[in-house]
């Protein structure tokens, strides 16, 4: 058996602060508005993907989180097709350039094996498809020698995956062209730009699976007149404001716009017919908690944002993290025997004043939040150089099949 060509990469999760909701083209995944996100650090949340190619492989195969899945999934095929296309074009250019006909060393005729795992539970309800497709496209591109702009390919796997192709603060410019060639992600500021910014993922103990985002946004586009207004008349101005807030590192402006945009996204879900609810009673309590906390201090120290699920993502500055996590723990008392409540970046202990507790004055909700992941902004996809970390062995099969 031929030794396979193996590449492993990692890619990050991103969390939108100006939300993407609604496509103008389902096939190409072109959005009805631009969006902006913060890339989360891969030390806490990442996808790792190994791609292997070999003359000996009989068919394309994929394993996700230890389970073999159907490689014919249309969006997976979109990404594979695009990478092959780019690679073929590159080869054609190369041939024309140096006249060397022997450059089919990238294994274009070989079958691929793909293996991908997340370092966080899928059940946590963290949008893993963005990191997953970003990682797949980044890794395939390495294998097949495709260079340059890849976010347009990742976008065709999962819209928000295009934003996971860069670190730091990233905008997805909606574009205007029908073929989607100008619907691309772009870094606004790198991850080093705002070192004090901290991100807390409050993983809510969800009772039931919410409406999926693909079908949810379809229904919203078809039925919500508020969504149309938002996309056309509200988001363009907010993109400008948000980019300025990030560039100035103006936390209050960043935080308020983040909260308003999350609320407006969920408002358009409620204006959908039949309505879609992603915020449950835990989410509502987190929202109240944040506003009361900020009101107590007379300044915006903390912001929330929610995607298509009940988990809250909190933005704050480093100096406020110790107290705020204590506040969360007080108003969402964890299970006494439920494992670690704080995960990720270490958090110093802080005391909680009676005055603050009373100022917030909410009824504690036991077990509403399972755990908190403390993280920060991080870099885009990376190549893993250490071959012992490949997820596929020299036979082209997963090293640890569950």
């Amino acid at each position: 058996m031929d030794k396979p060509n193996i590449v492993t990469c990692t890619a990050p999760v991103n969390i939108a602060v100006i939300k993407y909701w609604g496509k103008r083209d389902e096939e190409l995944i072109l959005p009805i508005n631009s969006s902006l996100s913060v890339t989360l650090h891969q030390e806490q949340l990442k996808t790792t993907t190994t791609v292997a190619t070999s003359r000996s492989f009989q068919e394309d195969r994929i394993w996700l989180n230890g389970k073999e899945e159907d490689i014919t999934h249309p969006r997976l095929q979109s990404c594979l097709r695009e990478i092959f296309l780019y690679s073929v074009r590159r080869l054609a250019r190369k041939r024309r350039g140096d006249g060397d006909p022997s450059v089919d060393s990238t294994g274009l005729s070989h079958k691929v094996h793909i293996c991908s795992v997340n370092n966080f539970p899928t059940a946590a309800g963290l949008a893993s498809s963005a990191a997953g497709f970003a990682c797949l496209v980044y890794t395939l591109a390495r294998v097949f020698g495709v260079e340059g702009e890849l976010s347009g390919i990742a976008r065709q796997g999962s819209g928000s995956a295009c934003r996971s192709m860069y670190g730091g603060f990233v905008q997805w410019i909606m574009g205007k062209k029908d073929d989607g060639k100008d619907s691309l992600a772009q870094q606004v500021e790198p991850e080093t730009h705002w070192p004090e910014l901290r991100i807390l993922v409050l993983v809510a103990s969800a009772e039931r699976k919410p409406v999926g985002s693909t079908s949810g946004m379809q229904t919203s586009v078809q039925t919500s007149s508020l969504l149309k207004h938002r996309a056309e008349s509200v988001v363009p101005g907010r993109m400008v404001e948000m980019i300025e807030a990030v560039q100035r590192k103006d936390f209050a402006a960043f935080a308020e716009l983040t909260m308003k945009d999350s609320n407006q996204f969920h408002a358009t879900c409620l204006d959908t017919y039949p309505p879609i609810f992603y915020l449950n009673s835990v989410s509502q309590q987190v929202i109240s908690l944040v506003h009361r906390y900020n009101r107590h201090y007379g300044e915006t120290r903390v912001a929330y944002t929610f995607d298509a699920g009940p988990n809250a993502v909190i933005f704050t500055l480093q100096q406020h993290v110790p107290e705020f996590v204590q506040v969360v723990q007080h108003f969402f008392p964890p299970e006494t025997n439920g494992g670690q409540f704080f995960k990720g970046l270490p958090v110093n202990h802080a005391a909680l004043s009676e005055e603050l507790k009373q100022a917030i004055g909410l009824e504690p909700m036991p077990k509403g939040i399972s755990y908190i992941i403390s993280t920060k902004a991080g870099p885009g996809p990376c190549v893993v150089e250490d071959p012992t970390l490949h997820l596929l062995g020299s036979t082209g099969l997963p090293k640890n099949t569950v």
Copy 2:
């Protein structure tokens, strides 16, 4: 002591199907959009108000639900002032007309005593201010001989009170004038128009008092761009559609528009900053239940609408009431010792098929709903002729002070 002049009237509650949310003038209570409501039958829900005037009264006084309240409340004073003004003008006209200077028999110089009670618990969270102000204005008008259009006066007590001045299906035309003279209610169809229509009030066991509607709508007008869009670009078309649906007695069209408009109102609350939540987990479950019930039958048999609180108001046709209340009772099992679950119009018993229960497939929420009031569309304010029903005795004090 002089025998007081005593008049007693009753007025109904109304429930909006195209919602009023937001004022363009706080003082005059002029709305940013027109609205449309159904007047509920007074047999189930009404306010009764007695007004007495006497030369012997020392001061204006008011008792609400057995408790003396502050008569200097600005909106109460608005209504009193307007009625006096109309009465003075009427007298002036009369004097000019018949030259009789002795017509000050309406007691304009006398102090008033006002006593008002609801036949439903205030704690039920049913907007009682609409019925209360409608009844106050209607009764005062009788006492002071004011005739003609009264909804513009009731509006100045509580916006939605203007719609309680008529029975059946009522629109509140927003008007354009700065002085509000054209911001009036108008009957679209009388209560006899659609005899099959039934209304169920699902009284939710609310945990906490929500944000009041006056301050809530102020914040919404100031902060929600979606509300502005709704008022200017969505509601005008919906008013036309809703009036047509009512006139045609097209239940599916009426029901769908009712649900969409309730959802859009709550969407604008969520787009408010800080956001306002009136729908809790019980409300969300009622919404799911209604959509699943309709989906099961492949037609829109039932509609929900929610005001500034968690209670659901359900519209359906007479023939579907028995089954639907069984569905509600199944998915919101009442307290076994919690008193009567069904109130109001008698409801026939119906069996509930396993198929229907499974098609709905929600997790039952014990005690989520306290009780159901079954009612229908009803008439506008009425005079109570029987003097034994006056709430104030011949001394001008409440007959039954709590």
